[in-house]
C-alpha cells in the first residue's frame, strides 16, 4: 500500500474530528454553553456531519482510484474534483470553525473549573497545532498559556492593595494599545481566513472546472450555469462576509480594496457564464488567482508587523509592579505569578514565531530566485542552495511532520549527492530542487498558519483588558460637583 500525504491528512482529520465529536457528546461537556454553529444545530451534530462527509469523500475517492488507476478517464475528472473539494471543505472547517470553537470551549471549561475536561481539550488543541500545523512541541503561543495570563489580568481590577490603582493608570495607554492591536490582528486574520476559504472551497475547484471547459470541444449549458452559481456563492459567502469583518475596523482603503475587486471578478464570471463566453471566465480566474496570492501575502505582512509591535512587555511590567505591591501574604499572589510566567512564555512564543516567519520568508524568496535562475543558469543551485539549505534544516530540525521528514531524509541528501556528481544532468537537478522546494514551501505555509492561529489565541487577552480599562475609567472619573 502506498500511503500518500493525502491519506495522512485524511487520517489526521478523521482522528481529530472523532475525538472532538466524542468529547462534545459527553454529559459534562454538553452542559457547557457554546455559541451554536448554526440555528437548531449543536457542535456535536455538526462535527459528526463533517466526519461523515470526510469519510464519504475519502471513500468515494478511493473507489474512483480503483476505477481509474491512471487518472486517464476524463469523464471521472469532475467527480474526482468534487470529492477532493469535499475533503478540502472539511479541512477548512477544522481550520476556520472548529479550532476557534475548541478555544472557546477551553475558556468556558476553565471558567467552570472543569479541570479534567480542560486537560482533554488542551490535548486536542495541541494535536491540532502539532499535526495540522506541524509545530514542534513548545512552539507557538498556546491557548492554555493565554488562559493563564488572562486569569492574572482579570484579577488586577479586583485588587484593593494600595498603589495598584496608580499602576493601572500608569499603564492605561499600553492596555488600550494592546486592545487596538489585537482587534486589528483579529481583522487581518478574519480577512485572511476568507481568502483561504475562497481558495480552497471555490477557486481551486472553479479553476479546474473552467480548465476542463476550455479543453472540451463544446461546454454544456450546465457547465456555464455551474460557474454562474459559484460566482453568486462567492459574492454571498466571501465578499459579504469580508465586508462585515472589515466594517468598523478602521483599516485603510488600500487594505480592503480587494473586496470590491473580488466582487467585480464575480460579476465578470457571471456575465461570461451568461454569454457562454470562455474568455471572461479565464480572465476572471487569472484575476482571482492573482488577488488571492497578493492579498494573502499583504495581509500576512501587516499582521506580522502588528504582532511584532504588540506591547506584551508593558503588560508584563504592569504585572511585575503589581506583584511587588501585593507582597507575599496575599492569596492572589500565586495566580499573579503564574499569570506573569504564562505571559512571558506567550511573548517568547510569539517572538519565536515572528522570527521564524522572517527567516522562512527570506529563505522562500531565495529559493524562488534560484528556481527562476535555474532556467538560464543551472549552476545557480550549486552556488546558492547550500547556504539556504543550512537555514532550512535549522528551521525544520524540531519538526516531526511528513514534509520535514521527506525534506531532511530524502530531498536534501539527494540534491547534495546530485551536486557532487559531475555526470548528473541539469533536468535531474532541477527535478530534485523542485521536490525540495515543494516540501520547504509546506513548512513555510504551516508556520504561516501557526502565526494566524496565534493571533486567534491572543484574542483571548481582549476581554480582561476591556474590563480593566472600564474599571480604570470608572475609578479615575472626576466626581460630579
Amino acid at each position: 500500500v502506498i500511503v500518500l500525504e493525502t491519506d495522512q491528512a485524511i487520517e489526521q482529520l478523521d482522528r481529530l474530528l472523532s475525538e472532538v465529536g466524542l468529547l462534545l457528546g459527553e454529559p459534562p461537556l454538553s452542559t457547557v454553553q457554546l455559541a451554536p454553529p448554526a440555528p437548531d444545530r449543536t457542535w456535536a451534530v455538526v462535527v459528526q456531519d463533517q466526519l461523515t462527509d470526510l469519510r464519504t469523500n475519502a471513500l468515494g475517492l478511493s473507489e474512483l482510484e480503483r476505477a481509474d488507476v491512471f487518472h486517464t478517464d476524463p469523464s471521472l475528472a469532475t467527480r474526482r474534483a468534487v470529492l477532493i473539494n469535499g475533503i478540502a471543505k472539511v479541512s477548512t472547517f477544522v481550520d476556520i470553525r472548529l479550532a476557534p470553537c475548541l478555544r472557546e470551549l477551553h475558556s468556558a471549561l476553565l471558567a467552570a473549573g472543569m479541570q479534567s475536561s480542560v486537560e482533554r481539550v488542551d490535548a486536542l488543541l495541541q494535536e491540532l497545532d502539532h499535526t495540522r500545523l506541524g509545530l514542534a512541541p513548545g512552539r507557538g503561543v498556546g491557548a492554555e498559556r493565554v488562559a493563564a495570563a488572562v486569569r492574572g489580568i482579570g484579577l488586577l481590577r479586583t485588587l484593593s492593595v494600595p498603589g495598584v490603582s496608580q499602576v493601572l493608570v500608569d499603564f492605561e495607554a499600553d492596555f488600550r494599545a494592546t486592545r487596538n492591536q489585537i482587534a486589528r490582528m483579529s481583522t487581518y486574520k478574519g480577512l485572511h481566513d476568507q481568502l483561504h476559504h475562497l481558495q480552497f472551497d471555490y477557486f481551486n475547484f472553479l479553476d479546474a472546472h473552467v480548465g476542463r471547459m476550455r479543453a472540451s470541444m463544446q461546454p454544456t449549458d450546465e457547465d456555464y450555469e455551474f460557474v454562474s452559481s459559484y460566482a453568486d456563492r462567492i459574492r454571498e459567502e466571501v465578499v459579504e462576509r469580508s465586508r462585515e469583518i472589515a466594517e468598523g475596523s478602521a483599516l485603510r482603503p488600500i487594505e480592503i480594496a480587494w473586496i470590491d475587486e473580488l466582487e467585480r471578478i464575480c460579476r465578470t464570471l457571471g456575465e461570461g457564464a451568461g454569454q457562454h463566453d470562455l474568455s471572461p471566465l479565464a480572465r476572471g480566474l487569472v484575476g482571482m488567482d492573482h488577488l488571492i496570492g497578493t492579498r494573502s501575502e499583504a495581509l500576512n505582512r501587516w499582521l506580522i508587523a502588528i504582532a511584532r509591535l504588540l506591547p506584551l512587555d508593558a503588560l508584563e511590567h504592569a504585572l511585575e509592579r503589581v506583584i511587588e505591591l501585593v507582597g507575599g501574604t496575599n492569596d492572589e499572589l500565586p495566580t499573579l505569578q503564574t499569570s506573569l510566567g504564562a505571559l512571558e512564555e506567550v511573548h517568547t512564543g510569539l517572538d519565536r514565531l515572528v522570527d521564524a516567519h522572517d527567516t522562512w520568508q527570506d529563505v522562500d524568496r531565495e529559493l524562488r530566485d534560484i528556481a527562476a535562475a535555474l532556467l538560464y543558469d543551472p549552476s545557480s543551485v550549486a552556488q546558492r542552495w547550500p547556504e539556504q539549505n543550512v537555514r532550512v534544516l535549522q528551521l525544520s530540525a524540531e519538526c516531526t511532520e511528513e514534509w520535514a521528514a521527506k525534506l531532511m531524509g530524502v530531498d536534501a541528501p539527494r540534491l547534495q549527492q546530485l551536486l557532487k556528481d559531475s555526470t548528473a544532468d541539469a533536468p535531474r537537478v532541477a527535478r530534485a530542487f523542485r521536490d525540495y522546494r515543494t516540501h520547504a514551501a509546506k513548512g513555510f505555509y504551516n508556520l504561516d498558519r501557526a502565526l494566524l492561529e496565534a493571533c486567534t489565541e491572543l484574542g483571548g487577552l481582549d476581554a480582561p483588558l476591556k474590563d480593566l480599562l472600564g474599571h480604570i475609567q470608572s475609578t479615575t472619573m472626576p466626581m460630579p460637583a
Binding site: A44, T56, A58, L59, E65, R66
Partner: protein, 175 residues
C-alpha cells in the same frame, strides 16, 4: 492511496453483524435502559443493512464504478453507510459503554444469585474456568471486556468487546 473503499465496506458489514449480536444480548438484558438501547441499535442496524443492500445492487449494475448516471446514487448511499457508522461510533457506543459499566457496578453492589451458564455467550471466546463459572468470575470477565473496549483499536472490536461484556452480565440471575 489507501483502499478506504474495501476496508470501510468490510467494516460496515462486520458492524452490521456485531449490532445483530448486540440486539440478541440486549433482548436478554433487564431494564428500561437496555430496552431503549435496543431500539436505537435496531434502528441503526436497519439503516445500515438497507444502505449496504442498495449499495450492493448499484455495484452489481455498475461493476467498474464509472457509470455517471449512478454516481450520485452511489455517493448518497456511501454517505448513508458512513453516517450510520459515525452515529454508532459517536452516540450509541459511548452509551453502550456507560450501560455496561453501570450494570457491572450494580451487580458488584447487589451480587446476583447465580450464573445461568446456558445464557453465557459462546462467541466471546471465553473458556469456562476448570472450576466452573461463578458470579465473581463472570463479573471479572465482564470488567475485562469493558476494559478491552477502551483499549482496542477500531469500531467493530470496540463494539464486540462491549457486546461480550453485556452478554456476560445478562447471564447473571438476580437474587
Amino acid at each position: 492511496m489507501l483502499d478506504y473503499a474495501e476496508s470501510s465496506r468490510a467494516e460496515a458489514q462486520q458492524l452490521a453483524e456485531a449490532i445483530a449480536e448486540l440486539d440478541g444480548v440486549l433482548a436478554r438484558s433487564p431494564g428500561a435502559e437496555a430496552e431503549g438501547m435496543r431500539k436505537r441499535a435496531t434502528a441503526a442496524l436497519v439503516e445500515l443493512r438497507a444502505s449496504l443492500e442498495d449499495l450492493n445492487n448499484v455495484e452489481k449494475a455498475d461493476i467498474f464504478g464509472v457509470d455517471p448516471s449512478l454516481a450520485t446514487r452511489r455517493h448518497v448511499l456511501l454517505r448513508l453507510v458512513e453516517q450510520s457508522k459515525v452515529t454508532f461510533e459517536q452516540d450509541i457506543l459511548p452509551a453502550l459503554r456507560d450501560l455496561a459499566r453501570s450494570s457491572l457496578q450494580q451487580s458488584r453492589q447487589n451480587p446476583p444469585d447465580h450464573v445461568d451458564t446456558s445464557e453465557l455467550p459462546d462467541s466471546a471466546g471465553e473458556e469456562a474456568p476448570p472450576e466452573g463459572w461463578s458470579v465473581d468470575r463472570v463479573l471479572d470477565s465482564a470488567e475485562r471486556f469493558i476494559g478491552d473496549g477502551d483499549r482496542v483499536v477500531g469500531l467493530v472490536p470496540k463494539v464486540l468487546s462491549i457486546v461480550h461484556a453485556l452478554g456476560m452480565l445478562a447471564s447473571l440471575v438476580p437474587a
